[in-house]
């Protein structure tokens, strides 16, 4: 099927839906509009997915791209430039898939100010899809920041007890990072302009990719970009906003946050930090991978200690995204592939966990695991779904989580950049720890004595809840057993990125390497005969050098 402006349509259809909801009065009409919009967007993104051809190279331009240079003056190369490549296609699909699921999960949970909630939710989807589709850095920044505003309100207005603190913390953390990134984007644009024959300020990703940045400039540009994305991921020790935001956010907000919003950080690392600043990225790779491993273990240990189920899942995100960051900084094909696929996997399985915890909360209005126990007998379907999601999240072979984690660990062991078996071995313990805290949660919630009568009378999942969970569980199985079709989508992009990184890394090193002896000799030859280069030492001169004088 050939739909014009398909990528832009996928990005902006939710905004149209948001404007529509503003015109409606009745809550049910608003809900149905939101559901119709997100489902329609998902359908369009399927067309986008089918239209994307992994066999066609995206080395020079993304596929299905929409470009408009009219946005900024001609003298400045800032433009509306969206498209898809192997890195973004799955994440876009994940975002649009979570759209209707989140709307369905909020159906009864949100019972006040529905208009604002659904309008903001749709706007948020535009922002996230835009982030994944942008190939212009300023445009990327605009979408990146655009996601903050709706999320701020979703946490702050529809959140829990301590929502305002969490919302402000979320925004300020991200804002500090992203504003510093903005300076780096501007600096990068002007640096590229300085070597560009036309001296045009540019933020086009493909143009910037061709520019070899001197190593010392790379270091601090990389630092600013990486800081911004590390806050978003979040990488230990910048993760403290995450548990607050997750616990306070309504279920829908948590699902979006864990499912796709955090991926903006890891995606940014892969898309911008690595290929634009390859030398800096490789020299800092070990430090960042080490922080990722600390995050894996720290997140897992803290998750085990939580009495609150939602907080446990929140900390599990810190741990799981540590794997993704580790995979990114391993600089091997397997690890990079694993990282990209793990971003999607984590979105599915953690999204499912948040949805299920949200369902329990909606029924009992508590998230303390002590208040539950023995639910397996009263709500068998919900329990099954939960066990499924937990096993997927813990990386059981046959479910999706295993594929990503396995590839990441495999690739990291082989990594010459990291070159540390001990580090990766430590990371591997994270898989075991994940099983510990996740199974602990399952045990506390679903097994043991059914003592509380409130738990015994709990209603099992209704049709709506089953419908919204079904695609996620299905995907866990499909991606677990048949990862190949998905990996095939991402493979060309990751190979291209790694090749580019390798190439640019070598180019910058060659550019900056001190001239070797041979070079010096060859250069010196025509200028002066070898005799002139000889230095004769006068013993008197040597003696007259008195350090104390």
């Amino acid at each position: 099927m050939d739909i014009p402006y398909l990528t832009s349509l996928v990005i902006f259809l939710p905004t149209v839906g948001a404007l529509l909801t503003l015109l409606l009065r009745r809550a049910s009409a608003i809900r149905w509009t939101a559901l119709a919009t997100t489902t329609g967007t998902f359908a369009l993104s399927i067309v986008l997915f089918l239209g994307y051809d992994p066999a066609v190279s995206t080395a020079g331009a993304p596929q299905l791209m929409d470009i408009s240079a009219a946005w900024f003056p001609d003298a400045i190369d800032v433009k509306y430039f969206v498209g898809v490549d192997g890195l973004s296609i799955l994440l876009i699909l994940l975002t649009t898939l979570l759209g209707p699921i989140v709307v369905l999960s909020s159906w009864t949970y949100i019972d006040a100010k529905e208009k604002g909630y659904y309008a903001l939710l749709l706007l948020l989807q535009t922002g996230i899809t835009g982030v994944f589709a942008s190939f212009d850095l300023i445009l990327f920044y605009v979408f990146f920041e655009l996601t903050l505003i709706p999320m701020y309100f979703i946490i702050g207005v529809w959140g829990g007890e301590n929502r305002i603190y969490a919302a402000i913390k979320f925004v300020l953390y991200t804002l500090v990072g992203s504003l510093l990134m903005l300076v780096a984007i501007l600096y990068l644009g002007y640096e590229a302009a300085a070597v560009d024959p036309g001296h045009v300020f540019t933020t086009d990703w493909y143009t910037l990719l061709e520019y070899n940045i001197p190593a010392d400039t790379q270091t601090w540009l990389f630092a600013l970009f990486a800081l911004s994305f590390a806050i978003k991921v979040p990488l230990f020790p910048l993760h403290t906003w995450l548990p607050d935001a997750h616990v306070q956010a309504p279920t829908g907000g948590s699902v979006i946050l864990a499912g796709v919003l955090l991926k903006m950080g890891t995606y940014g690392l892969v898309r911008f930090c690595l290929p634009l600043f390859p030398n800096a990225a490789q020299s800092w790779a070990f430090a960042l991978a080490a922080l990722a491993v600390v995050g894996i273990i720290y997140g897992a240990l803290v998750a085990r200690a939580q009495p609150d189920a939602k907080k446990l899942v929140a900390y599990s995100s810190v741990s799981h995204l540590g794997f993704v960051v580790l995979g990114i900084f391993a600089f091997t094909t397997e690890a990079m592939q694993g990282a990209v696929i793990q971003m999607v996997n984590h979105g599915i399985s953690t999204g499912a966990l948040f949805l299920l915890v949200g369902m329990l909360y909606e029924r009992r209005h508590t998230r303390r695991m002590n208040d539950y126990g023995g639910l397996a007998t009263s709500v068998p379907i919900l329990s099954t779904l939960m066990v499924f999601s937990v096993l997927a999240s813990a990386g059981l072979p046959g479910l999706n989580g295993f594929v990503g984690e396995f590839l990441i660990l495999l690739g990291s062991f082989k990594s010459t950049v990291l070159d540390s078996v001990a580090l990766v071995a430590l990371a591997t313990t994270g898989v075991i720890l994940a099983a510990v805290y996740l199974l602990y949660m399952v045990y506390e919630l679903f097994f043991g004595e059914l003592t509380d009568p409130a738990n015994a009378n709990l209603a099992d999942v209704n049709a709506r809840e089953f419908v919204l969970m079904a695609p996620l569980v299905l995907l866990m199985l499909v991606m677990g057993f048949f990862p190949q079709p998905f990996l095939k989508q991402t493979a060309p992009a990751t190979t291209f990125l790694l090749d580019t990184i390798e190439e640019k890394h070598a180019a910058v090193e060659a550019m900056e390497a001190p001239p070797t002896a041979d070079d010096a000799a060859r250069e010196a030859l025509p200028v002066a005969p070898p005799e002139a280069a000889e230095v004769t030492l006068d013993p008197d001169d040597l003696r007259s050098f008195d350090p104390d004088r």
């Binding site: 009219a70 946005w71 900024f72 003056p73 001609d74 003298a75 400045i76 800032v78 300023i138 920044y141 605009v142 920041e145 655009l146 903050l148 505003i149 701020y152 309100f153 702050g156 207005v157 929502r163 305002i164 919302a167 402000i168 925004v171 300020l172 804002l175 500090v176 504003l179 510093l180 903005l182 300076v183 501007l186 600096y187 644009g189 002007y190 300020f201």
Partner: protein
């Protein structure tokens, strides 16, 4: 010069100051009407009509070839038209916003609107100045009117204090300013900006004289744009003045003063000698404005410090001193005017008569978004835009001032600027959460117990605010074109055409 020829030239140049003439004459008519009935409801609308005509004229002038009039004292077209348009639009918005506000406070005297018109005339003169004399006359016309407007609410001790403070400090800074002009004249022998640049400073110790003059001159200007450390008057004056007029003072007068300062920097001062001075002032201004705003309980006071901070962002561009940076500053002034008039406009409609006079604390506004959704939503747009969030105009404004500064090698300054923007996020977002996220149960009783409760909704005022908010959103699409247009004003040929006089 023969008197007869001078008269004929001046008569021929009268169309060049059409907007000034219209606004002044309409101001006189308003005063005449006010003499018969001071609170005649037609008076503000007369003013609006006059300013609409004037701004239509300036809009037309935007595209025309720039030039000078009155023997090079006044610039017309292009750059001058942009500043004048900005000032006039701010004047229109302020007048409309003032009507319900002043009516409610029973201070809807016709003279107020007339004074607003004369302040606007001063700003137009300031914005189109091409010589030190017209800068001074414009600045003083504007300031004298604003001194009076600041003290409008006579019963309020705060307002009286504000007016007196403003007047005394303002007069003091005018002294610096005037003395600076005198010294610069002494060194260069001319009052005209383009001629000043060509003056030979090496003669007779002219350099020292000149730079001493520039220093005093800058102090005077920095006072008017409330840059730190010359900002002390700002919070008190902004808090005490009638709220819509505060919005006017914080935007139009800054736009005119900055517009004129940019010209002085562009023409009269030898290139790059001011960079470090302005960079240091920009740092102090951004830090003082943003940090002090953090702890303010009174919204107007918070906005006062925030407008100090925004002067700092503009100074970043001025320190960069390239044409792109000046164009960025112009664009920033436009965005800033829209969002700040909006923010003060919302506050004007939310101040309620509590037991302690005009209540303006943030706490008293908890959950107000639910009661006044239009005001709540527009305020959210203004706050996010002031923070510099895309897709609102504020972000593109920040881009326009920061990007050229990075290009000019002032990355350290821009880093401080963005960190301070992050700080500003805290106090702007606090307004948003108080409006929409806090429980209103605690304050509803107090609101009801107070005599008047919330002010009634004014449709015209809300209309102005909605226009401002929509404009800020629309800038996501049009800012590129606007920045390009602003850059066009600094075209070499355009500048040469306007600089020919004197």
């Amino acid at each position: 010069m023969e008197l007869a020829r001078a008269f004929s030239t001046m008569a021929a140049d009268l169309p060049a100051i059409f907007s000034m003439i219209v606004v002044s004459v309409v101001g006189l008519v308003m005063l005449t009407v006010a003499a018969f009935r001071s609170d005649h409801p037609s008076i503000p609308w007369l003013g609006v009509a006059g300013m609409v005509v004037a701004s239509a004229w300036e809009l037309f002038q935007l595209g025309t070839e720039p030039g000078t009039a009155f023997f090079g004292a006044i610039r017309v077209g292009g750059y001058a038209a942009f500043i004048n348009l900005l000032v006039l639009l701010a004047g229109i918005a302020t007048t409309i916003l003032s009507v319900p506000y002043l009516h409610r406070l029973k201070h809807d005297y016709g003279e107020v609107y007339a004074l607003l018109m004369y302040a606007t005339v001063g700003m137009i003169l300031l914005g189109s100045s091409n010589s030190m004399v017209s800068i001074f006359v414009g600045l003083e016309t504007m300031s004298v009117c604003l001194y009076v407007l600041a003290g409008l609410i006579r019963e309020d001790e705060g307002a009286v204090e504000a007016a007196l403070k403003y007047f005394l400090l303002g007069a003091f800074s005018t002294g610096f300013f005037l003395y600076g002009i005198a010294l610069m004249y002494g060194a260069t022998g001319t009052m005209y900006l383009p001629a000043m640049a060509q003056a030979d400073l090496a003669t007779a110790g002219g350099t020292l004289l000149f730079w001493a003059g520039v220093a005093l001159f800058l102090i005077g200007f920095l006072f008017k744009v409330s840059a730190a450390p010359f900002h002390m008057w700002t919070p008190d004056v902004y808090q005490g003045s009638p709220t819509p007029l505060t919005g006017y003072m914080s935007t139009a007068s800054k736009a005119a003063a900055f517009g004129s300062l940019i010209l002085v920097l562009y023409y009269a001062l030898p290139a790059e000698r001011w960079t470090l001075v302005l960079a240091v002032v920009a740092v102090i201004t951004m830090v003082v404005g943003n940090v002090m705003a953090l702890s303010q309980a009174n919204v107007k006071r918070m906005l006062a410090y925030s407008s100090i901070a925004h002067a700092g962002y503009i100074l970043v561009a001025l320190a960069a001193g390239t044409e792109a940076a000046f164009a960025g500053a112009l664009f920033y002034l436009l965005v800033y005017t829209v969002m700040n008039i909006g923010a003060f406009g919302v506050m004007a409609l939310l101040e309620w008569d509590g037991r302690e006079g005009r209540v303006q604390t943030l706490d008293s506004l908890a959950g107000i978004g639910t009661d006044r959704p239009v005001l709540g939503v527009t305020m959210v747009v203004f706050m996010f835009s002031l923070t510099g969030f895309p897709p609102f105009g504020g972000f593109f404004g920040k881009y326009a001032v920061f990007a050229p500064a990075v290009d000019a090698g002032l990355t350290w300054l821009v880093l401080i600027g963005v960190l301070m923007s992050a700080v500003s996020g805290y106090y702007y977002l606090r307004v948003v959460y108080v409006f929409w996220m806090q429980d209103r149960d605690d304050v509803v009783d107090a609101r009801q117990a107070s005599l008047g409760g919330l002010p009634p909704v004014s449709r015209t005022s809300q209309g102005v605010l909605v226009v401002c908010a929509v404009g800020l959103v629309a800038m996501a699409f049009f800012s590129g074109g606007l920045i390009e247009a602003a850059t066009g004003f600094f075209d070499a040929s355009a500048m040469a055409a306007a600089g020919g006089g004197g």
